[in-house]
Symmetry: C2
Subunit: 316 residues, 2 copies
């Protein structure tokens, strides 16, 4: 089945020396390679009633490429393992392959190979390879006075999920306003801006992470790994009209701010730059690294702890 | 949990620039990299009643490293994704990590990173990276007159599985004779001879594959990819005393020959060498590549089709 699914791919945008069909794929690499693996499980990470195969393909590729971009690497290739019930429709698997292919092309990477096995539920594991043109950008390099900057939008995936839950079906949710429909798409099939990772590395970023688990939590990881406190600027993190409208639509206007701060799966990038470094085009300042050595790992919002739900619990 | 599980690893035998704990791992590679991914699913591929976490860790590493060795590559690193029920014992996950670590060290490779998520059953996906010192050895390079050679033993995993099924429990099966107990171990935690892959490549192998799905089936893949017929030598494939004893123990002496020809999961290597090439130490001749262009993909046994069960059906 892997071969038949993967045989739909045309020429890949990067040179694969050996593609799917032999014991292993072969890629040409010279230098440092970033490698990340991430799994989507039906039920926990997606519902087949809500996500098409293509959505899941895009999402597993996006999640993995965002991780290599968050080291400063350029996406190179993806291998994918699908475990699925015997009664999974071949159409769904073909759609999955199409979604993987689509997001790989968008990322400038190739599908290098795959594996198919049987399981009670659909489990899709991607492993992304990325090429580093310089040293990897870790979470641990933030220093006092650094500018904390964000590339990409946040809160949109969480808003889309809330709209889906509220509308009860994808069709109903996609039938809402155009902007609501875009939030739903952002949840089902996120499309991160991968070049922002290598751009940040070239601009001298000292720390880099993607917002897979929500801004406060992921910034907290940078703060913890770097041994610093980070103060985020509330004025730079106000929800936009789309999020405000979505929050009103699901009946709780306070949710918009919460989605921005704690919503995950947007795969935006957060970088810390020296105060005198120019920010790359995709980034905007959202905060500042405070003193090292005190309150290690704490994230503040306008100088004060954030007291909303899902806040400190996870990352304090 | 990934970090706590992976933090048990000491210094790795290869230089990992960045190990588990950041967005992605980073390895140094110069040249060609083989990449393979393979999944083990509880129920279909192992039972928790029979396999310890360590067994599953060894098996997922072995299966993936055998695939990169079957391209002629040296194992470099492994990333692993574990999806598991919330009630999986932490002990089991720690054992899994220990088994992964053990087989990675045996292979001369490093655990580079991982991911943990929730699922109804245990699903473990490994992705192996291997370094090629020369061109990859594909399945498609066999030519008329080539010697077909085998490195490693075959039929042992299938024999071990039959003994387990017959004995009903691991304790009962391991309490059989010493040689039976070794067959059971070979099934639960295969330990392939990875260096035979690069050795074959250095010796000029023209085609290479690992016997993950059984000798006839995998040799059939070489025959199909190369457009040749392959004749295996029955005298070189007679079951040894261990297999004969196991077949008697499970009540069907004819099984021994069948395990050799069709038993999978041994991860031995089959290579095709030019007639004048010397075989590397680990290999012994088991057959010959016949005329190209006729009966493409057919595998014969002493010049005749094998008519036993599980035979041609899968690979003709």
């Amino acid at each position: 089945m892997v071969r038949s699914i993967l045989s739909c791919y045309g020429p890949a945008p990067v040179a694969l020396l050996v593609g799917p069909g032999d014991d292993a794929a072969v890629v040409e690499v010279n230098g440092r390679l970033a490698v990340s693996t991430d799994t989507l499980v039906e039920g926990a990470d997606f519902r087949r009633a809500w996500s098409t195969g293509a959505d899941v393909g895009v999402k597993v590729a996006a999640q993995n490429f965002a991780d290599v971009a968050a080291m400063g690497a350029r996406p190179l290739a993806l291998v994918v393992s699908l475990a699925a019930p015997g009664d999974l429709r071949l159409d769904w698997a073909r759609d999955l392959a199409a979604g993987l292919d689509d997001e790989c092309r968008r990322a400038g990477a190739a599908i290098a190979g795959g594996d198919v096995s049987s399981a009670d539920e659909v489990v899709v594991t991607g492993t992304a390879l990325g090429v580093l043109d310089g040293p990897p950008i870790l979470r641990s390099g933030a220093r006092t006075g650094d500018v904390v900057a964000l590339a990409g939008e946040i809160g949109r995936s969480a808003a889309g999920l809330a709209l889906l839950g509220s509308a009860g079906s994808v069709d109903a949710a996609l039938g809402l306003t155009a902007s609501a429909s875009e939030l739903v798409r952002a949840h089902l099939a996120p499309r991160p801006a991968y070049p922002a990772g290598p751009d940040a590395a070239r601009a001298g970023a000292r720390a880099l992470i993607d917002t897979s688990d929500g801004l406060l939590r992921d910034v907290g990881r940078v703060a913890a790994a770097s041994g610093v406190r980070i103060d985020l600027d509330p004025a730079a993190l106000t929800p936009d009209d789309d999020l405000l409208a979505a929050a009103r639509a699901v009946g709780d206007p306070t949710l918009a701010a919460r989605w921005v701060l704690t919503g995950g799966e947007d795969h935006a990038l957060v970088a810390c730059f020296a105060p005198d470094a120019g920010l790359p085009a995709a980034f905007r300042s959202i905060g500042r690294v405070l003193d090292e050595g005190q309150g290690i790992g704490r994230v503040l919002l306008g100088g004060r702890p954030w007291t909303g739900p899902d806040g400190w619990r996870h990352f304090a």
